[in-house]
Amino acid sequence: MTNLLTSLLYEDWVLHALIWLPAAGLTHVLVSSADRARHIAFAWSALVFVLSLGLWWSFSPGDGGFALESSTPWIESWGVSYALGIDGISIFMVLLTTFTSAIAILGSFEYIKTRRKAFYALMLLLQMGVVGVFLATDIFLFYVFFELTLVPMYFIVGIWGGERRIYAAVKFFLYTAVGSLLMLVAILYIYFSSGVDSFAYEAFLNAELTLREQIWLFAAFALAFGIKVPVFPLHTWLPDAHVEAPTPGSVVLAAVLLKMGTYGFMRFLLPFFPGAVQHPTVVMVMLILGVAGIVYAAWVAAVQPDAKKLVAYTSVAHMGFVVIGIFALTLNGLQGGMVVMISHGISTGALFLLLGMMYERRHTRLIEDFGGIGRAAPLFATAFVITALASIGLPGTSGFVGEFLALLGTFETHPVTAIVAATGVVFAAYYMLPMVQRVLFNKLDKPENRTFPDLSRREMVILGPLVALMIWIGVHPAPFLERMEPSVQVVLERVEGARPVPGTAGTPARED
């Protein structure tokens, strides 16, 4: 495999292809007929996925730095480059993106009935933006892609969404924009602090920042990423966006857009502001927010009448595990956070697909409108149950590995946090099982549910790989863990290498 890839000069072009092929697909979709749009879009996204798969072999973790790096000056006068690279953290995010994008597009074949060309064009644009976010090693480039993802999502929610789609879309957009624009100011601050006329990742790493500066900048970055994650209490855009978004939108939103936040934590927040990240108050605040997210979101999820909203809140809870894992500042915590990110992408993506299938069949998302589906659609029920179990972190599924490591890592440094967070394990059952029961089990007493069709072949093709991944990662996560470890290690060393002298408050911010 590696030889084959080498002979194709794979490493030279793959990262660029991953970003620009969706753009090519977008154009193709726009010039094609509406009827063929979905197939064309799927073909392109599948092509991108297949190409991205080569990374699995081509990428070797090495010393944890970036691989496959390339950099071309873009806006020279500002020191901005079109610089791409991949490491043990981003490779999984990229693969997750290419995978779920293709799955989401395939999953939207029946769901999207109007304005198909526009829809698939936007989906491909979204994919391009997200891949760009994960591949960019230039801060400016990263920011551009980070923002770029908002537009397609805004339209996807706003045009193909439900009743309150506009409210949800605008809320999503503005919420995210507040954070990211403040981050832009912070980026500029670092840019001028670094003294190097460059937006390269390395240049930013070398910026000399006092503790006080770090804390302010941390706040700006954390707000941007925290909204994306979303961290309690910045989460209220998420349920609305999820409920209103069409299925493929929800899938991509849950699977990858949220990851941009936690990815930002790992990629930027920790390495850039090691002093702030180790500040006890900062750590405490982040951990408390993470834990609050876990418990609070689980509680709120449990009483949702709308299945999609329920799953949306579970996202908040899951991402809480990532947050505590990251801010525990232990290897296990960070790796656990990574695995939760992957696992959540897969399992929640699958859940949204399943809910979408329910909606396609019954045109309702209210839990109480279902019941006894297990009898009418056993395959559907099986997939649903497995996915739900992966979501609540049953050992043997992907969810467990991540949550276990995240909690373990947290316990190493912050036992109390871990103890409270561990109750999330109970609350996960508390929100998920009643839904499973009320949808799949109980009496099949509503006549319209009796004719609930089971999974079609296409739907099996969609869900099959997802379920397989959940179990694969749950049973044999080693290939994932060993690929990400060096990079995570690098982040951690960067943080720990800059342990501040306790008691120094830091010099005042630069004069105006």
Binding site: W74, I75, E76, S77, W78, R115, Y143, V144, F145, E147, L148, L150, V151, Y154, F155, G158, I159, R165, I166, A169, V170, F173, L174, A177, V178, L181, L182, L184, V185, L188, Y189, Y191, F192, R510, E511, D512
Partner: protein, 503 residues
């Protein structure tokens, strides 16, 4: 070649674009008078005016291509800064004329006067950009203003247009008086109206401080009025709403540009030494302008009026560059103005198209479902809006980022934060248009834009504008270098020559 004004022909050369355009404007006026209005609705006059702009552009290009001046004290500057601004004016005027073509015809306006007034106003703007003397600035400003007063009230059949003209005229003249008083005081304080001489005087400390302070303040007020900075903005929404839409576009884009260019030259070159005294005033004006412009835009139901407030907000962003007062910010200001001109005229172009060359359908509800009925126009409008909002991928983002860069360089963090937060506010009203266009269904009775016909020329111009916006959003390098190059040496004047010289 080098202009050393040893020959009086050098003066002609130095003012070549302005002279060409002035003459051409009179030509257009004459041709217009000599023709009966019939058939083409004066479109050929529009094309004629465009040809004049093209020639002016050639002249400007000639100056740009290597003509330099001796020293930097002449009343008329021949520097990149001016010439870059001239490009912007030419582009703004040309785009405005193109979107005017069907409008003027449909509204049966007197084409000759209309197009020549645009040209004259453009000449005024050019003078403002080229002036190195406060008096020339005043003259240029008045030349521009008088033309625009007339343009704003041009549609005599429309009482809104008349009202807009009157308000603009009264308040504009009122503000001019302040500006003029400021000029007088500065002239008295520094002993000269030459910007360079003022700068030197400030540097040497040979100014009468008691006059200088109020003078600077009044001058700032005069400019603030023209760039519609809060609280001198009150005329803007009314005039923008009432004026014929192409004129609104021209005002929003070019008038603002001209005022900012002059503002920049006066304050960053002439009054740079007094930065400590004026920056906080401008800081507050910038902050209030950004907040008020964006916030009030939220509650507008007329797209035109909303865009008026949005242009106020953009003025606020641009003021940040003045407060930052460094080369990056200055280059950012120029770049922003260029981009702003293109996108503003573009967005009004779509508004005209939606209004079907009339003043109708300017309520936001009229845009419901518009995108799906006119996908091309819809996409164009969306890009214009995103660019106005400063969204990555568009030139608007690069421009806004450039301003931020300048602000950051001067450590204006609070102002930067205000800028980005008000930008978030602006997202709401820009997106609102987008959501009406794409996310709402048109009412069944869709008279609105049901049968929109957009002339080919307008379409081409809009598409090209969008292409430019996207291109400059993705590959801004060349334009940025151009803007940065235009600032090169501009402010060296202060340190450059110690000789106080007359005009």
């Amino acid at each position: 070649m080098v202009l050393d004004y040893t020959s009086s022909f050098h003066y002609v050369l130095a003012l070549l674009p302005e002279l060409v355009l002035s003459a051409w404007g009179m030509g257009v006026l004459l041709v217009g008078v000599s023709r009966e209005q019939e058939g083409g609705g004066g479109q050929e006059l529009g094309w004629l005016a465009l040809a004049g702009l093209a020639i002016a552009a050639v002249a400007n290009g000639w100056l740009y291509s290597g003509v330099t001046e001796e020293g930097a004290t002449a009343m008329i500057a021949v520097d990149r800064f001016r010439l870059f601004a001239n490009w912007v004016f030419i582009i703004g005027a040309a785009l405005s004329i193109v979107i005017s073509l069907p409008y003027v015809a449909r509204q049966r306006l007197q084409a000759g006067e209309y197009y020549s007034l645009i040209l004259f106003a453009a000449v005024g703007m050019m003078f403002m950009a080229s002036a190195r003397d406060l008096m020339v600035i005043f003259l240029g400003l008045e030349l521009m203003s008088i033309g625009v007063y007339a343009l704003a009230g041009f549609n005599r059949r429309d009482r809104r247009s008349a009202e807009a003209g009157l308000k603009y005229f009264l308040l504009g003249a009122f503000a001019s008086a302040f500006l003029l008083f400021g000029i007088a005081l500065i002239y008295g304080a520094a002993g000269s109206s030459n910007i360079h001489a003022i700068a030197v005087a400030v540097q040497d400390g040979t100014i009468a401080t008691a006059l200088m302070g109020p003078g600077v303040a009044l001058l700032a007020i005069g400019f603030a009025f023209k760039v519609s900075a809060v609280p001198f903005h009150m005329w803007t929404p009314d005039v923008y709403e009432g004026a014929p839409t192409p004129v609104t576009a021209f005002m929003a884009a070019s008038v603002k540009t001209a005022a900012f260019v002059a503002f920049l030259r006066v304050f960053l070159v002439g009054l740079d030494g007094l930065y400590a005294q004026w920056w906080s005033i401008l800081w507050w004006i910038a902050a209030i302008t950004m907040v008020a412009g964006n916030v009030v835009a939220l509650v507008q139901s007329s797209v035109k009026r909303m865009l008026a407030y949005s242009s106020i907000a953009h003025g606020g962003y641009l003021l940040v560059a003045l407060v930052a007062a460094n080369d990056t910010a200055a280059a950012g200001l120029l770049f922003y103005l260029l981009v702003y001109t293109v996108m503003t005229v573009g967005v009004f172009g779509v508004v005209i198209a939606v209004g079907n060359q009339t003043e109708e359908n300017s309520r936001i509800e009229d845009y419901a479902g518009f995108g799906w009925r006119q996908p091309v126009l819809g996409v164009l409008m969306t890009v214009f809006l995103l660019s106005l909002a400063g969204f990555p991928g568009t030139a608007g983002f690069i421009a806004k980022y450039h301003l931020l860069l300048g602000a950051a360089q001067s450590s204006l963090w609070v102002l930067s934060v205000i800028l980005v937060l008000t930008t978030v506010v602006s997202y709401w009203y820009y997106l609102r248009v987008a959501w009406y266009m794409w996310m709402k269904e048109a009412p069944e009775t869709a008279g609105a834009g049901g049968r929109i016909t957009t002339p080919f020329a307008t379409r081409v111009v809009l598409v090209v504008s969008v292409a430019v916006i996207l291109l400059a959003g993705v590959f801004p390098g060349a334009a940025l270098d151009l803007a940065a190059g235009s600032i090169d040496g501009l402010r060296d004047l202060v340190a450059g020559s110690g000789v106080a010289a007359g005009p």
